[in-house]
Symmetry: D2
Subunit: 255 residues, 4 copies
């Protein structure tokens, strides 16, 4: 029975690429997303066509028991060894006035409460098996709050602290939580592409994209996700950042 890598938030960007990488390295990739069953099944088929093992799971993570049920379901396929928690709460610029209580709460439910619920569901299983890994895709909003980011930053800032409390309590029991801060635009058609619209997305890709590696390329990011998940337990990384070589770090301004 293969070890399982569960991807929560398996879109065509980071989630899909990480799932593919783990499948290529011998894991069963359990890919979970909220919608677009056809897209999900294509990802599964792609992995299988290259000899890998994968399954697709349509789940609305904020529904009651959704994450808990997902963990139970996937455990039947094999022991969950790695989870990629890849749910974000980015909704673009939204002024305070335009940020409803509902939107603010939804951001928290996805990005922060979701990780809490996942941990409650999967840590007992991992602890019993002597260990496991949770990779958390994070964003710059986890470490600084910009205008128009009320929902996003509050959710991600809470989540970063949660990653720290989880490591503080579970690292010594063998569970490794890695907070991977993505500090730049990812070349992903179903997040960046949606946010910009197809035309501007194509323009951006052409301007600073594939040829110049000016966007974060998901399949390259997946290499680091995989590495972190396989660090020897004597040398674990809790926090790291990723950005394209041509991006200024979030703490920098143009001179």
């Amino acid at each position: 029975m293969k070890k399982v890598c569960l991807v929560i938030g398996a879109g065509a960007g980071i989630g899909g690429s990480v799932g593919k990488k783990f499948a290529a390295e011998g894991y069963h990739a359990a890919l979970c997303r909220r919608s677009d069953e056809a897209g999900l099944m294509t990802m599964v088929a792609d992995i299988e066509s290259e000899g890998g093992s994968a399954s697709g799971h349509l789940v609305n993570a904020v529904k009651e028991n959704a994450i808990e049920d997902l963990v139970a379901e996937v455990e039947k396929i094999g022991p969950i060894s790695v989870v990629l928690f890849n749910l974000g709460a980015q909704i673009g610029y939204r002024s305070l006035e335009d940020t409803t209580a509902k939107v603010f709460e939804l951001g928290w439910q996805m990005a922060c409460f979701g990780l809490f619920r996942l941990s409650k569901a999967v840590f007992p299983l991992m602890t019993e098996r002597g260990g496991g890994t949770v990779l958390v895709t994070s964003a710059t909003a986890a470490v600084r709050g910009n205008a128009g980011q009320h929902s996003h930053a509050a959710a991600m800032g809470g989540r970063r602290m949660l990653c720290q409390t989880l490591n503080a309590e579970y690292a010594a029991k063998g569970i490794h939580v890695a907070h991977i801060l993505i500090d730049g635009a990812v070349d992903a058609p179903d997040t960046l592409g949606k946010m910009l619209g197809p035309e501007r997305y194509q323009q951006l890709r052409e301007a600073k994209g594939l040829e110049h590696d000016g966007l974060l390329l998901p399949e390259k990011m997946a290499e680091t996700y995989f590495h972190v998940a396989h660090q020897h337990r004597s040398a674990w990384t809790h926090e790291l950042d990723l950005r394209a070589f041509s991006d200024l770090a979030w703490w920098n301004h143009a001179p």
Copy 2:
């Protein structure tokens, strides 16, 4: 009509002391807490007996419309010029296993969502009047997550980012949000006292308390709260910490 300082979370520690200080300096202190009407009324009476102006408001901040209604009610007394947002989410050490989803959510509702709702309710009024101040009592858990602090740290970490998004969007409109990180034990009978029990509280106070200033004294902290609220707009502080001289900062360990 006096300017109003609204204190959300007016216990016998920081909240009450800050309310008292602002009342002594000419503000009407609108003191709000969830329970203990007798204690609340004693605080109001104390302020009035020294010639100050105060009112007491029993409010359960997590109830729907509670904060919104409170702002409306207090505005009838006078224009809210300063708010002290003093709700915490500290529940002591609680392992992941013992932290229920309900507790986790409640922490967020109090400490993070509460500030969001307050901002939605009071910022339009302050903006129209050309400015205002929100003092936010924060805790070490806002900047690092320890074991057993899942609910607390996730709520406070989110709140710190929210303070940054609020300043980024509203400082230039004259609203000053100050994140005041309390990094030590406060000499407060109804938080620390409750957490420790009366006997251990008294022991702690005697060991490192009043004589040695080894606990943060709320009436001294109130001086800094008041100062920050009255900084000239050319020199505002967004983030500061407070600890007793004999406390090691959170980033230090004993050598």
Copy 3:
């Protein structure tokens, strides 16, 4: 005999204004700078004309024994109770190529080694007297390194850590070191004014200056410096930031 506030780096901006404030509150202000004796003496005369007590000291702080001798000299006037360490290492944008080893070292000598030497000289005196305060004017470069800031950022980053080691070792002995991060342009003729030239300085002042408080006004900043130096020892601030209401914090970008 008056308590002494020693200002190391007493230019016409923060240093001079803080000296003036302390003098107005009853301290002897010992003003120290490297050059411009006439300007220094004018500052002393200004303070004295308002009934205050001050002295001027021309010192090149990087010279061997300069800081040590200065402390000894000023102690003859009265006990040094507060030091403002106001030496900076800002030299504007300087590419790596254009940053000589000499410039890099000079930045460190002024901004970092200077504080170390001051601490070695004055802490024994303060400890013996039961306490004292060192206010350190810091800059954004202490917490993030931008292009062209090699010398400045390395010096200020080291200095911030030094402030932490000093507090960790001496706070419990009554010495309060406060790291005051200035995150914006200060309305100071002999730093900003020099950097920009008289015409652009005047333009900037008019554009966002006095009328709009869009520059940090030294005499307003001095209020906070004075407050921090007089916090009760049960509630000390180790780190705080100051910026104009209209400035974005260093961690923010325009949306």
Copy 4:
């Protein structure tokens, strides 16, 4: 001609292990340390006996032109593609009183000025060749200052900011500077071993050592160093931490 990995600070711990790893992966390892020629030559011989390529260089990095000459010398062997800057400034607990100006300066010369000089010497070569990598071994003292760490923390804090200024200026030119924060005790006979003495070192190793991976194992750390040096330029890490699974992160305290 093989690509060269230059290791500055090639002791028996991180430096030697990283050199070995790069040699095993096809680089020439240029190993540089200050003393113990015999030990250095043994490391070179070990690498060669496994079919790798290596050279030993005895250099006192703080001497004038030492780093500059080293770079020139090593460039004759092959183009320097990766540098591991592994000089530390840890001298154990040293009170302010016991920290001489000389010691304080030496720490800065090794840990901070040394990296500046290296960058001045090697960046022009790397830029001309289209890129390169500098891996910087850092310590917890770079992000927080404890008592007795005056020299160490000031040097490392300055160095972290320097890494940021270097990335801000050179990342877009293809030079990747990675700040690798080691947050725990490394199983290294010639640093930890020396600090503790042979008996206590052996006790510590037995208590939490090899069997339990409770010390950072250099050969495992080297895997991450190598990975970071080979990240695709669309996904670079600027800052990451490493600690043993059983270590509490520096920001945590035991509950």
